[in-house]
């Protein structure tokens, strides 16, 4: 066997080892129940509870944003983010929040929204303007 082959196999082994260690980053989606059981960060997939309050008042505090998420088990909890409210938040079909539970509130450090694409499936604009 040539050195170069050994090097190639070595690189492949390193790749496998790294992927194996990296796989802890590839989590599964947790629920609020799982979040209560751990102190580390979890990723929760759910829907926005549209009947509950979505609070963001930039004039009061531009870094405080709260809303409610229903997780895949149907549990609803308040989620708080110390950040500005993302665009098109209300339109989201699915929400993925990353963070941890603190008391009753879920403190989110990151949020990912799955929105129906705005520029697809849209009504055909008519030339006539619609006014008040």
């Amino acid at each position: 066997m040539k050195k170069i082959h050994i090097a190639a196999i070595g690189i492949l082994l390193v790749a496998l080892a790294l992927i194996f260690t990296a796989s802890q980053d590839f989590s599964t989606y947790a629920s609020f129940k799982d979040a209560a059981a751990t102190t580390s960060q979890v990723k929760i997939v759910g829907e926005l509870a549209k009947d509950k309050e979505i609070y963001y008042d930039p004039a009061e505090d531009p870094n405080y944003f709260s809303f409610h998420v229903i997780d895949k088990d149907g549990v609803t909890r308040k989620v708080v983010m110390n950040r500005a409210k993302p665009q098109d938040f209300e339109m989201s079909e699915q929400i993925v929040v990353t963070g941890k539970l603190q008391g009753e509130e879920f403190m989110a450090s990151d949020i990912l929204l799955k929105c129906p694409s705005k520029y697809k499936d849209e009504e055909i604009y008519l030339r006539a303007e619609t006014e008040e």
Binding site: I11, D25, F26, S27, P58, I124, L126, E131
Partner: protein, 942 residues
């Protein structure tokens, strides 16, 4: 049904021609591929087959370009009967964004890609004619697949490709298609406002040129090996490989620059799946170039070079699949949505994987490969290792990016086994940037250490001890300079942990070794330049990445203002609130938002920053204008564009992160307007209203100047009131001009006036409708008989019948068949002879019955009815109404107090130190490829 309607104004032939052109292009590519294959196998008729192949390819090229020209002219002419035109163009889209609109979606971007493949192939036939027959059959096969993507043929249940020439009414269901003249009713949807940016004009063509160029080293090497020319291809492959890596690299960098400059990502690279999938082919190309150089120099690694070129091309196809299949939509900010062409894309990939493997397994045994082992301290061995490290990097990136694909595969097996395997699904990393950086850091360390050291090694090194005596001094010098320099760097970027220490050292050492290598042997050696520039560029780039990444600081913080309940301090202080005209302290800056201006669909917020040193002195000041972008119909704000103060040592990046809800969204503004606690005051002109904090004076009612947002149109009836708000404490005054408009004599539109400083909003009461458009019972009518040209007095005015008009312009008139209608033109002058109003009442005979359409003008307060024409005498009878006195002396003014301010912005400001090192380094890295191309060509000529 709609099929039976004869539509008016549709221009259908260009679409049909375009569609047939694409079909011709597809067939021509197929013919060309077959002819080129035959030219390789049928050696007796080699030249004639080659000619057929070439001319078929030209036919393919011409038809593709013609189809592009047709589609582009349809877009320029706003032919909304075509779905692609309607979906991406609108009447107000400027010409420069037509290009962006062209390649915004799947079909257009496939055409762009196909176009570049054509151009590259034609250039290739001219400059590398010796390799034409062996290469072009693969290029033609690629064209077969690419043009099939826009074919739009339906055979049974099978749809092949999606045509850009599909009609709007075929693609969409809407009631509007029930009318034959639907084209007059519809409007183009327009280009996504996020893409109305000049980067969108230049980034995609460059990237697709890079993608197209990636195919050619694969076609050259694969084609040559398939036609039993096992070694000579390394020369043309290297030349084209360098072009591919250079252009693709520039394309990727443009994407980074766009993200940094125009999108509010807050960085140039986010390890987004779409970004990754163009980076991976580039990394493989770079690895292939290294093994190609080895193959040229020491005649080994032909197989490996071919394999890497093939892999680079296949990864381009895989990246196309990932971004266009909708699979990455969950993890990516800018992937296409699903196109329904997944199967076709998959066939594209599988075909070329199959072709690549077939060439390898049928011809591999004939490719010469060196039996002897390469010496450990030889240049080639370390270049191999370098390539392997790059491949390792791509394996790691691709694995994480492919998680959605793995989930799909798991589902596929689940469906075979009839089990739900969704518990096996994995998600993409919680923090993708940290995830990728953690592993790619070590790749960068290895590259930094090797990039310079390997330069000093020689090919086929036998006597490394002697060599080390010679180069040892140079390496030691590099090391000696690198250690203190890296230490200074570490102090600057402030990285913690072994990884960062090693990274900054590796980058510094990589830079120093390359510089020393360039000047070793007493004179700078031009031959080395390309490689040295690229490798040193890489090292500089790593410095820039570390400085801008680790030292990135939010300056939009003001600890005194922030609430205490924020738990997570790192996130808490990213945004600051700026009220208009109120200076605000943030970190060591004072920020003042003082103006906003609307430019097309973008509102620019001008902010003046003043830097303040520790003693409180003003040391520097500059202006930035981050902006918000409205949807094409202005109904809401859809994105924020940043603005950056660029300096040599650092960038100050600002972006708006939120605006008041009523500014963000029209329906929110309407909702809030309805909820405002308006009080109505019925007062005559000159009266003062005493409010809680201030007084308001009704200065007048006028028809000449209106609210700033209102632009008068012909058929409008509009009025505004001048209401002066005076705050007795601050002595601040504001002249509000609330305006009311009746549009088309049908709907009422209000323009309330707001003073943020007075925290008050003024609106006209609904009673103004009667002022603008009074009921007949509120008018006193007098009969007036006039001849054409006659003037009579009507205190305090004079009225002249200046003419009659058959063309009816009155907004309330709707023509019916059999109507006889006349519109009178009555000029109203005041005592000084100045024209005040023109009254245009209409007299209509409909089904033998006379009808009158009144015209009222609020300025004179006169109404006119045209009630009789005496054909014998030519006399015409009018009823002229004037307002009864008491209807015009009191006006309903509505005022709301304690209205929350809506003149603020929430701003995010970040300092990126040393980011120019990133741009400098990465640009040098790409420049190295072009320097190499230039030097190689010159050497060949010499």
């Amino acid at each position: 049904m709609t099929e039976n309607i004869d539509y008016i104004g549709e221009l259908l032939w260009p679409g049909e021609v375009g569609h047939y052109l694409i079909i011709t292009a597809f067939v021509a590519a197929l013919v060309s591929a077959i002819a080129y294959v035959l030219s390789n196998s049928d050696r007796d008729n080699h030249d004639s087959w080659k000619k057929i192949g070439r001319y078929s390819f030209y036919v393919h090229g011409v038809t593709i370009i013609a189809a592009i020209v047709i589609l582009f002219s349809l877009m320029l002419n706003h032919r909304y009967e075509y779905n692609y035109v309607w979906a991406h163009v609108s009447d107000d889209l400027p010409f420069k964004y037509m290009f962006s609109a062209f390649w915004e979606d799947q079909e257009g971007s496939f055409l762009l890609w196909t176009f570049w493949q054509v151009i590259i192939s034609v250039v290739f036939i001219k400059v590398s004619s010796r390799w034409e027959a062996s290469t072009m059959w693969i290029m033609a096969l690629i064209q077969v697949f690419l043009s099939s993507m826009v074919l739009g043929l339906v055979i049974g249940d099978l749809q092949i490709g999606s045509s850009p020439f599909n009609l709007l009414r075929e693609e969409n269901a809407s009631d509007v298609f029930a009318t034959a003249n639907y084209l007059e009713l519809i409007q183009g949807r327009g280009l996504n406002p996020l893409l109305q940016n000049y980067w969108m004009v230049i980034h995609p063509p460059t990237l697709f040129l890079g993608f197209a160029l990636t195919s050619i080293p694969f076609a050259i090497s694969g084609g040559a090996i398939a036609t039993r020319q096992y070694t000579k291809w390394v020369n043309p492959a290297l030349k084209w490989g360098l072009w591919a890596a250079g252009i693709l690299g520039v394309g990727i960098l443009m994407g980074g620059a766009w993200a940094y400059e125009a999108l509010s990502f807050g960085g140039y690279w986010a390890w987004d799946p779409v970004e990754n999938s163009s980076l991976v082919p580039w990394l493989i190309l770079v690895a292939a170039i290294h093994t190609n150089v080895i193959a040229k120099s020491v005649r080994r690694s032909y197989k490996m070079t071919y394999g890497m070129y093939a892999l680079a091309f296949i990864m381009v196809l895989y990246s196309t699949f990932l971004t266009r299949s909708g699979l990455t939509a969950e993890s990516s900010a800018h992937a296409f949505t699903s196109s329904g062409m997944e199967a076709q894309l998959l066939a594209f990939i599988l075909f070329f994987i199959g072709l690549g493997l077939w060439i390898f397994y049928t011809r591999g045994k004939f490719i010469p490969s060196s039996k002897e082992d390469e010496p450990f301290w030889s240049r080639e061995f370390w270049m191999y290792l370098g390539s392997f490290v790059l491949i390792l990097s791509t394996i790691l990136i691709t694995f994480t990016t492919s998680i959605p694909v793995f989930n799909k595969i798991i589902d596929f097996f689940g469906s075979i086994a009839g089990q739900d395997l969704s518990s096996w699904h994995r998600t993409t990393p919680l923090d993708p940037i940290a995830h990728y950086n953690r592993y790619q850091l070590w790749i960068a360390v290895l590259i930094g250490l090797m990039a310079g050291t390997a330069q000093f090694l020689r090919y086929r090194e036998k006597n490394y001890k002697k060599r080390f005596r010679k180069i040892g001094r140079d390496l030691l010098i590099s090391l000696a300079i690198s250690i203190p320099l890296a230490w200074i760097g570490l102090k600057w970027v402030g990285g913690q942990g072994l990884g960062y220490v090693l990274l900054i050292f590796a980058a510094t050492y990589g830079f120093m070794t390359n510089i020393v290598y360039l000047f070793s042997g007493f004179k700078p050696n031009a031959k080395k330049l390309g490689s040295v520039v690229s490798h040193a560029g890489f090292a500089i780039m790593i410095w820039g990445v570390m400085a801008s990444g680790l030292q990135k600081t939010y300056i939009s913080t003001n600890p005194f203002v922030m609430r205490e309940l924020v738990q997570d301090e790192t996130m808490a202080n990213q945004n600051i609130l700026l009220y208009k005209d109120i200076p605000m302290r943030m970190s060591n800056y004072e920020a003042l938002y003082y103006k906003d201006t609307l430019v097309r669909n973008e509102r620019l917020y001008s902010i003046r920053f003043t830097e303040i040193d520790q003693k409180g002195n003003r040391v520097d000041s500059f202006e930035l204008s981050p902006s918000s972008v409205y949807a094409n119909d202005f109904s809401e704000v859809v994105s924020f564009n940043p603005s950056t103060d660029r300096r040599i040592e650092k960038d100050i990046f600002t972006s708006i992160s939120a605006l008041p809800p009523e500014v963000m969204n029209v329906s929110e503004a309407q909702k809030r307007e309805k909820e405002l606690p308006y009080e109505e005051y019925d007062i005559p002109i000159g009266d003062t209203i005493y409010l809680r904090d201030q007084v308001a004076v009704l200065k007048g009612v006028n028809f000449d100047s209106y609210h700033q947002d209102y632009t008068p149109e012909d058929s409008d009836i509009a009025v505004s009131a001048d209401v002066l708000l005076i705050n007795p404490e601050s002595n601040f005054t504001f002249l509000a001009k609330p305006t009311m408009v009746i549009k088309d004599h049908r709907f009422v539109v209000h323009y309330p006036a707001k003073s943020n400083k007075n925290r008050a909003k003024v609106r006209l009461g609904e009673g103004f409708v009667n002022f603008l458009y009074p009921k007949d019972e509120d008018l006193d009518y007098h009969k007036l008989i006039l001849e054409k040209g006659q003037t009579v007095s009507f205190d305090p005015y004079t009225i002249t019948l200046s003419g009659l008009e058959k063309e009816i312009t009155h907004p309330e008139y709707e023509a019916e068949e059999g109507d006889i209608a006349v519109q009178a033109i009555l000029q109203v002058h005041n005592k000084s002879g100045i024209l005040v109003d023109v009254l245009e009442p209409v007299f209509v005979i409909r089904q033998n019955q006379p009808n009158f359409i009144r015209d009222f003008k609020p300025r004179s307060g006169l109404a006119a009815n045209f009630i009789k024409i005496d054909p014998g005498t030519g006399k015409m009878e009018f009823m002229i109404g004037e307002r009864t006195q008491d209807a015009s002396d009191r006006f309903p003014i509505r005022i709301a107090e304690d209205v929350s301010r809506s003149d603020f912005i929430v701003l995010e400001a970040i300092v990126f130190p040393g980011i120019n090192l990133f741009w400098l380094g990465s640009s040098l890295m790409m420049a190295g490829f072009f320097i190499s191309i230039y030097l190689r060509r010159r050497r060949k000529r010499a």
